[in-house]
């Protein structure tokens, strides 16, 4: 995908994050475009979580220039938080609230007006084809529904970027694919999707993929481009070639 300056929503230049003598992120440089599905891959401990926390405005880098939605991570972390959505495998839904109450709660957190909130609620239940479960407790829902609901809630305040941290862990293969449909749909509305996953077939659903090894970005391209560069049949092979690491890992 061509990077056009006006279309760049994440801009990272020489990002470094140190913890004492340990370099978790070593001069990362990359850009993510508007509406792109960007796969952020790497072995456990390669530094993905550290980088994601910085991009979400939760942690300050040691050095480097990092802009998210046009906001500077050093000075405007609150503005960043307002402009992004986040969902992880451990969804942050309140199990003993109903579906509608969860929606209302998060809409409130992000300061949506009552009218706006009502509209969002109706839209979302419609999109999820969930109107009938509006008043059910979240605890009673199947895992796949909870997951789709959590994703919708991450979108409630119209964020420009949504960070998805292993969003499909543990769900059945059909729901996993339905979930990716939701990701495509959101991306087609111009929302950028920043995704981590350990499912290598999902890496192939991304527009572009970066692979981190020991704190550095070792490769960044379209899945097809990476397969070609590494002479691999699929992303799993690409990943194995890049991320095979020394025997004693000291990472966290």
């Amino acid at each position: 995908m061509e990077s056009n300056v006006n279309n760049v929503v994440i801009e990272v230049e020489n990002m470094v994050k140190r913890f004492g003598s340990f370099v978790a992120n070593d001069r990362l440089t990359f850009r993510v475009n508007k509406g792109e599905i960007f796969g952020f891959l790497g072995a456990n401990g390669a530094g993905k979580t550290t980088a994601m926390r910085i991009l979400c405005g939760l942690s300050v880098p040691t050095s480097g220039k990092i802009m998210v939605n046009g906001f500077d991570v050093y000075r405007q972390s609150e503005a960043i938080k307002q402009s992004i959505g986040y969902m992880s495998q451990k969804f942050s839904l309140y199990e003993d609230l109903t579906v509608a109450e969860n929606l209302r709660f998060y809409a409130g957190i992000y300061g949506l007006k009552r009218k706006e909130r009502k509209k969002k609620e109706a839209e979302m239940l419609e999109r999820l084809q969930m109107p009938s479960i509006k008043n059910q407790l979240v605890v009673s829902l199947p895992l796949g529904w909870k997951q789709k609901l959590a994703f919708s809630i991450a979108l409630v305040h119209d964020p420009k970027i949504v960070f998805l941290d292993e969003p499909t862990g543990g769900v059945d293969p059909i729901t996993r694919r339905q979930f990716w449909n939701m990701i495509y749909e959101a991306s087609s509305r111009g929302i950028t999707m920043f995704v981590t996953t350990h499912y290598m077939d999902e890496a192939e659903y991304c527009d572009r993929v970066s692979i981190m090894v020991d704190g550095r970005i070792e490769a960044l391209d379209t899945p097809a481009g990476l397969m070609k560069t590494y002479g691999a049949e699929n992303m799993n092979e690409v990943f194995l070639q890049l991320a095979r690491k020394p025997k004693t890992d000291q990472t966290t």
Partner: protein, 301 residues
């Protein structure tokens, strides 16, 4: 060696395991495969005597697992899904503790854990809580093996683990199998099915199918077309809307298209897509794999 017969287990109103029967043979690597809520953990916890079945019978050789739990515990090593070692004890202290609980010593059984423990031994004075994910996993496995069990039970050892470490872990398991240990392991990753001798596909407390991966594909694997085109997203909706197609699922860069019946040929698919304006279509015939089978059986339920 292991016999689950009509085993059920409910928690309140939720039936976690619903009349499940299967057997595991000695020195086999048996995989329980399925998503969360399939019943994998409940089955494994019953096998290692941490839960009692509500009904049915569960035996290890001739020993009833419920009545003979003391005997079973000496024969079984268990690696739970959540890291459950003592975070404040060092690597070595954890291992020594598990050895002493089973009345043995690290030295006595060093040979069995050596290939795994050797990799974390340089850190033996480090507290377990300070280890990386991969090292914790190796320590947990060492602790599960220190009493030289004949059966090793592992609950989702590769969940949330990257593709490289996952492959390494399966290499370790295959080494243990060669050493004569029987293995029962659960995983949500369908692509790991091929690492097991036999597998049971589990969904909502029931077994969808049980066989060797090869036989399962022979019995249940349907002929499919693998289809690729640049415009993948619209391709999915076009093909899903076609009345000669039973299902369309994305698999990485390609789609798996299952025809409704055998009358649909490759040339028909080609013609259909050409009509819809796709000029760069790549099609190859194939047979559905374990994940295709899982989805197919799920829908049939």
């Amino acid at each position: 060696m292991i016999r689950f017969e009509n085993i059920s287990k409910a928690f309140g109103t939720i039936t976690a395991v619903d009349r499940v029967s299967f057997q595991v043979n000695r020195n086999e690597c048996f995989g329980l495969i399925g998503p969360d809520g399939g019943g994998k953990t409940t089955l494994l916890r019953m096998l290692v005597t941490l839960l009692k079945p509500d009904s049915g019978s569960l035996t290890l050789d001739e020993t009833d697992v419920v009545a003979g739990y003391r005997d079973i515990r000496n024969r079984v090593g268990y690696m739970p899904g959540r890291f459950s070692l003592y975070q404040d004890l060092t690597v070595e202290e954890n291992l020594a503790f598990f050895a002493s609980v089973f009345g043995t010593t690290i030295r006595e059984n060093y040979a069995i854990i050596e290939p795994i423990y050797r990799q974390i031994e340089p850190f033996r004075k480090r507290r377990a809580g300070k280890l990386s994910g991969g090292m914790k996993q190796k320590l947990a496995l060492s602790c599960a093996l220190i009493h030289r069990p004949e059966l090793l039970v592992l609950d989702e050892p590769t969940t949330g683990v990257d593709a490289v470490s996952r492959r390494e872990f399966w290499e370790i398991l295959s080494g243990l199998k060669e050493a004569g240990i029987t293995i029962v392991v659960s995983t949500p990753y369908m692509d790991e099915a091929s690492m097991c001798d036999r597998i049971a596909l589990l969904q909502q407390g029931r077994i969808l199918s049980i066989d060797t991966p090869g036989n399962m594909i022979k019995t249940h694997g349907k002929p499919i077309f693998q289809v690729k085109a640049t415009e993948r997203h619209s391709l999915i909706s076009e093909l899903s809307g076609w009345d000669r197609v039973a299902s369309v699922y994305p698999f990485g860069q390609s789609l798996h298209v299952t025809p409704l019946d055998s009358s649909l040929g490759e040339s028909d698919v080609r013609a259909f897509l050409r009509n819809k304006g796709y000029n760069d279509v790549w099609i190859e015939r194939g047979t559905g794999g374990i994940e295709d089978i899982f989805m197919d059986l799920m829908v049939q339920q």
